[in-house]
């Protein structure tokens, strides 16, 4: 008998398994991203890229909690041009075995579109619009909380690139479905849910916020139930028909399956790569395989959105 199949197709892109390295984590270089694939990732998302290089915020830029990580890197990146060697190295090392999605941001809709146009030329397989980074004033989140802006932003990026476009949603909103629907109206090919949650930490000795940026984004286990809820609500809204990539606090195979059963076709893993190691990918794959054999499930897609409450 053939074993269960882990490969998935999301917005027309095929991944050998549904585990994707999330943006901004261990993806500074082509070699780092290729390392994630060697360790079992089915795909990767680049560091969030802008047209021009950015240094990010001064330290401290992370705070660790037992249940999550608060970070405010401030979108450091070498700019799309500065990153081209990294994509090239990634593509030549992985030889098409794992798709690469480029995360982009800008300080205006035009800048987003220009960054997307520039990454397309690097040979990436898709674009992820980072419309939800909470860590840089005037960038990211301000675009991602307003449905009208989301629609225009996606429309503009779609008009610029022929490859699939994903929109990454913030959990900091009153209606995740409204935001998802706006991305759909703009023509997005898929959604990523969710980005980090705006949060902060104050040190009581110095009475200072620890992060230089004052606030940051919370990720890790604390975020997972929020992310699962967002994915479930989008998938069960009856209004949004786009494939969803789930993200937020996934570190075990159960966590990944929770997102998949909530309605995600694939998942992204970030914080777990820093707390565990890159072997988190192979461990989750093994766990999913065992589960699928036990439960007699042939394909990942058979489980997508399979969680249904008595009242959904």
């Amino acid at each position: 008998m053939e074993g269960p199949k882990l490969d998935v197709e999301v917005a027309g892109i095929r991944f050998l398994n549904p585990l994707i390295l999330a943006s901004g984590v261990a993806d500074e270089t082509g070699a780092s991203m290729a390392e994630a694939v060697r360790m079992g990732a089915g795909g990767v998302v680049t560091k969030s890229l802008s047209l021009e290089p950015r240094e990010g915020h001064p330290n401290p830029c992370v705070v660790e909690f037992p249940y999550g990580i608060l970070n405010a890197m401030g979108l450091p990146n070498p700019g799309v041009r500065g990153y081209s060697d990294e994509v090239e190295e990634y593509l030549s090392t992985t030889r098409g075995s794992a798709p690469i999605i480029a995360s982009v941001f800008g300080s205006s809709i035009e800048e987003y579109a220009m960054a997307a146009g520039a990454v397309k030329d690097l040979g990436v397989h898709a674009v992820e619009i980072n419309g939800s980074c909470p860590n840089a004033r005037g960038l990211g989140l301000q675009f991602g909380q307003d449905p009208l802006v989301i629609e225009d932003l996606v429309k503009e990026v779609k008009a610029t690139v022929p490859i699939p476009v994903f929109f990454k949603l913030t959990p900091a909103c009153s209606s995740i479905v409204d935001l998802a629907q706006a991305a759909q109206m703009g023509g997005a090919d898929g959604l990523v849910a969710v980005n980090t949650m705006p949060a902060m930490k104050i040190d009581v000795r110095t009475r200072m916020p620890v992060l230089t940026n004052v606030t940051g984004g919370l990720s890790g286990p604390a975020l997972r139930p929020v992310g699962v809820r967002c994915v479930y609500q989008i998938a069960n809204s009856g209004k949004v028909h786009l494939p969803i990539i789930g993200a937020g606090g996934i570190s075990t195979w159960e966590d990944a399956l929770e997102y998949i059963m909530a309605g995600a076709s694939a998942v992204q893993i970030g914080t777990a790569v820093t707390w565990g190691n890159l072997d988190v990918f192979s461990k989750i794959k093994e766990g999913m395989m065992t589960y699928m054999i036990e439960e007699r499930i042939g394909r990942i897609s058979d489980m997508v959105g399979s969680a249904k409450g008595v009242r959904s």
Binding site: A31, P53, I69, G276
Partner: protein, 284 residues
């Protein structure tokens, strides 16, 4: 899976001036269990409120009463703030992070040679004290630009079976590179002795490149403590990426074999935005 490294606020106990530009900051954390297991070569992220947060080696660790210390050369805003700390000031520490030096089995090795350059000595001295306490024979080769930067001289003498100093300008000890001292040391040894030797090194990368070349030439095993620009210290941001490895998580101490696979070793660093820079621009 490692435990999350929550920040602990600690009060500065004392700042010891080692030289005109180098100071040791002593503090005593409350959560002793967390820090007493620190392996020499591991690092801390140190928050200087209002200024910066930087990775630092632990240069001093004593039990009863529990004390930790880090030795800093004043070379920029953060290190100047560290050197200017006063007794009673609060700083935040998190860690210990990364892999430290790996003490070999006494069955395989009997000699540890420490090769230290500049403030790299802040990392090697604790490792060499440890080697000594575990009954290894210890030879320490310690180099610096000039006499004023050659710190811990008495401490080195007290933990070494043999210690030799070098300065670039000849103001103390051998005039020249610390690598020259290593070359002499290894030349004087038999093949058997070389096989029973392990080298621990930390210092400017250009120095460690020379050490690596000598170890390869003489067939001696070594461990190298690398430095890269770090933001998070926990494997998240990848700022410290070297040929696909995260120095904060896969290092900062790498075996000679691992170093051989790092194409960036001795060649390139990354700036704050992640752009590669040739090494020479980064050497301080």
């Amino acid at each position: 899976m490692r435990a999350p490294g929550e920040m602990e606020m600690v009060k500065v106990l004392k700042v010891i001036k080692e030289s005109s530009s180098i100071s040791t900051v002593l503090f005593s954390p409350v959560h002793i269990g967390r820090w007493s297991g620190l392996v020499p070569g591991q690092f801390l992220m140190v928050w200087i409120p209002g200024t910066d947060e930087v990775p630092m080696s632990v240069s001093f660790l004593k039990r009863e009463p529990f004390r930790m210390g880090m030795t800093v050369q004043n070379i920029g805003e953060a290190t100047q703030a560290l050197c200017s700390l006063k007794q009673g000031d609060w700083i935040g520490i998190r860690g210990p992070y990364g892999y430290g030096f790996n003490l070999p089995s006494n069955v395989d090795k009997d000699l540890i040679i420490g090769v230290s350059g500049g403030v790299g000595a802040a990392s090697t001295i604790l490792a060499m004290e440890w080697a000594r306490s575990e009954d290894f024979r210890t030879v320490n080769l310690v180099g610096a630009r000039d006499r004023s930067l050659l710190v811990f001289r008495d401490r080195w003498r007290s933990i070494s079976d043999e210690v030799r100093f070098s300065t670039d300008d000849g103001s103390f000890g051998h005039k020249g590179l610390v690598g020259d001292l290593l070359n002499m040391e290894l030349l004087a040894m038999s093949d058997h002795e070389r096989q029973r030797t392990m080298v621990f090194t930390c210092g400017p990368e250009i120095m460690m490149v020379q050490v690596k070349r000598l170890l390869d030439q003489f067939g001696v095993e070594g461990q190298f403590s690398l430095e890269r620009f770090m933001k998070c210290g926990i494997g998240l941001c990848d700022s410290c990426s070297a040929s696909g490895k995260r120095v904060c998580m896969d290092g900062p101490v790498f075996s000679g074999d691992a170093i051989s696979l790092l194409r960036d070793f001795g060649r390139s660093h990354r700036d704050r935005s992640g752009r590669p820079l040739p090494l020479k621009e980064c050497v301080r």
